[in-house]
Amino acid sequence: MLTLILLLFLGGAIVTWLGGKLSPVVGDLLFLATIIIPAGMFFTGVPVGEVTHLHALGLTLTWGLTPLSYLFSMIVVGLGILLAIYAVPFMKGKQKTGAFYFNFTLSVMSMLGILASKDWVSFFIFWEIMTWSSYLMVILNGKEVQRVGIKYFIFSAIGAYAMLMAMVVMNSQLHSFLLADTFNNFQHLTTGNQILIPILLLVAFGVKSAMMPLHVWAPDAYSNAPMAYTGLFSGALSKMGIYGMVLVMVTMINQLPEGTLIRDIIAWIGGFTAAAATLWAITQDDGKKLLAWSSVGQMGYIIVGVAIGTPLAMLAALFLVVIHAMFKGSLFMVVGAIEKQTGTTDFKEVNGLIRKMPWTFISALISVIALAGIPPLAGFVSKWMLYEALIQNNNYILVILLFFASTAGFLYCYKFLHGYFLGQEEPEWAHVKEAPVAMVIPMLLLALGTFVLGTYPQLLFKPIDAALQYVGYDATGGRLWGESLLFSQWGDVVTLQPILYVVLAVFVFFALFLWFKGTKGTRYVSTKDISTSGELPKEWENLTFKVNFMQPFERAIEPFLKRQVDKYYTAFGNGMEALFEFTRRIYTGNGQTYAIYAVLFLALLLLFRVNLFG
């Protein structure tokens, strides 16, 4: 069944691509069918625990789902379907639709494949398919392909090759590629490899989950890919790194004496990622970039949770994994819709869309609230639990760091909301209409999902619980989430509902208030109509008040921003290229020189004959 689903995806991708050549409509329909039919089959037909075997090159490829991967695969499939529906109107009239559909489908397939892999070989195969299909997406719009695309690919390749190395080393000593075998027999590895392999794997997964020194690809790649894909990219694809990290943490690191040290380091890296990425997000003036940095930051939270590794922290992390997929998916869709309708995503240019695109605004609002971690939405639940877990674990400084990140996060949340939707309507955007229904519904659904999960977190806790128990966490009393103050104090059935009702009432009240008050009496001034202290602004000066929106803040954090890792990587890259350039001058172009090399080599070998051959 699983094989069939993957094959359907693969075949569908090709058929879609070919069909798109015939007629765009056929391509659209085939694309939707390709995503939805196998996805439906996945929900209905794949039992957890069923195992399929394939053989290749003397290796056995084993496929099957575990509770943990089932949790992740629901994100993939769910987000995949919604984004597919969203993508059809989004891509209408654009070029390279065929390539988009093809890579989209392959991405979904490869992610499911990763989750279904029970051995490292197929894990790696799908991992690489995911990498190159997402790479092709990143460069799809043809902007900055050499810089952004290559950067993404280099980092992905470093990660993938680290994984490749780890898996062949494990295989050479344990004679098995099965995930379970390598985890269970981890102790049989030599001591050096016991350190080396988890580090390699953490690098591999750290790249995909944009862990701090390895994150530099992420903001560019996220913002450069088509928005219909970025939701999947940030929401699901980066979660594959988290999936791998969870596996490594609970299986390998736990068996290491140095495990706690590694955990601490990773947790700190995660915390730092969260804080720094948040600061970066604040300074962005482009919605895409802002969300991209925000994604990196959120991954930082998740990494902290996974690294701490107490049941509560894991619970929080996995919860955040799911809802991050939802609200970030929704937000990227929002940006995509704005891009589609207005043609730009720059805060400085777009504003006041609240009336033009109300439904988009509502989904953005809900998602942003979830992102900021404000109760009663789901973001709050996960963050609360994360802080709680950290405090239980005596990681007070880390808590402060995360708290700082979280608070700073409000700034960019506000900036995002304000940038697009609030403020004056510009006449420039008078023609803008609400996005097509097929684009609005997926984002609304996702936004509402965060709402529902904030209210009934048990819906999600149950599968997470199953997953965690599968990877070896003992549940006291059958449910891990009981450890959280949030639920043990207030009971887990009603939980946050009272708060919710109050908030909802206030919300509805304001909505009604605004409805009745209407827009009468509002004075329209140009957004550029600001005091210039007697100096006449020049034509090209953009004096929108959103320019340098956060200037004081930016000035405050300037010293941090100066130290970008990106710069060091670039310098390193340039240095390498210079070295390479130097190296290739060995080939002087003079045939005689080559002949001299040959004689030189001959002389060297003859001189060192004894050392070589005894």
Binding site: R585, Y587, T588, G589, N590, G591, Q592, A595, I596, V599
Partner: protein, 123 residues
């Protein structure tokens, strides 16, 4: 031919062959003219051929031909290196001819045989 004198030659022939090869190789590696390089390579071939034939030589041996006058007692020199050298000479000639035709082509193209001028392809 008196074989006693040949013991003094033990190293002389090999030494000469190697020296001739090295001289040719020196020309091929250092001289700037393409033709000189080809000449050098053909000198290397000469030295090599001498070396190989010398290898097959046996003191007091006769040529490996059972002509009518052969009495069946004399030792014969090793015929195999001779056969190989025969092949090598002909092949060497073929390669030299190709090399010279390339030299002519390069002359046509560059109007110089100075090898430092002929490096459009590099790095």
């Amino acid at each position: 031919m008196d074989s006693t004198y040949f013991q003094y030659l033990d190293y002389a022939v090999y030494g000469t062959a190697v020296l001739v090869m090295l001289t040719g190789l020196y020309a091929a590696l250092v001289k700037r003219s393409l033709l000189k390089i080809v000449i050098g390579l053909s000198i290397v071939d000469s030295g090599l051929n001498l070396l190989i034939v010398t290898l097959g030589y046996l003191k007091g041996g006769t040529a490996p031909i059972f002509s009518a006058g052969y009495d069946g007692t004399q030792t014969m020199v090793d015929p195999i290196p001779q056969a190989l050298v025969l092949t090598a000479i002909v092949i060497g000639f073929g390669v030299t001819a190709v090399a010279l035709s390339l030299v002519i082509r390069l002359w046509r193209h560059h109007h110089t045989l100075y090898i430092d001028e002929i490096k459009n392809l590099k790095w």
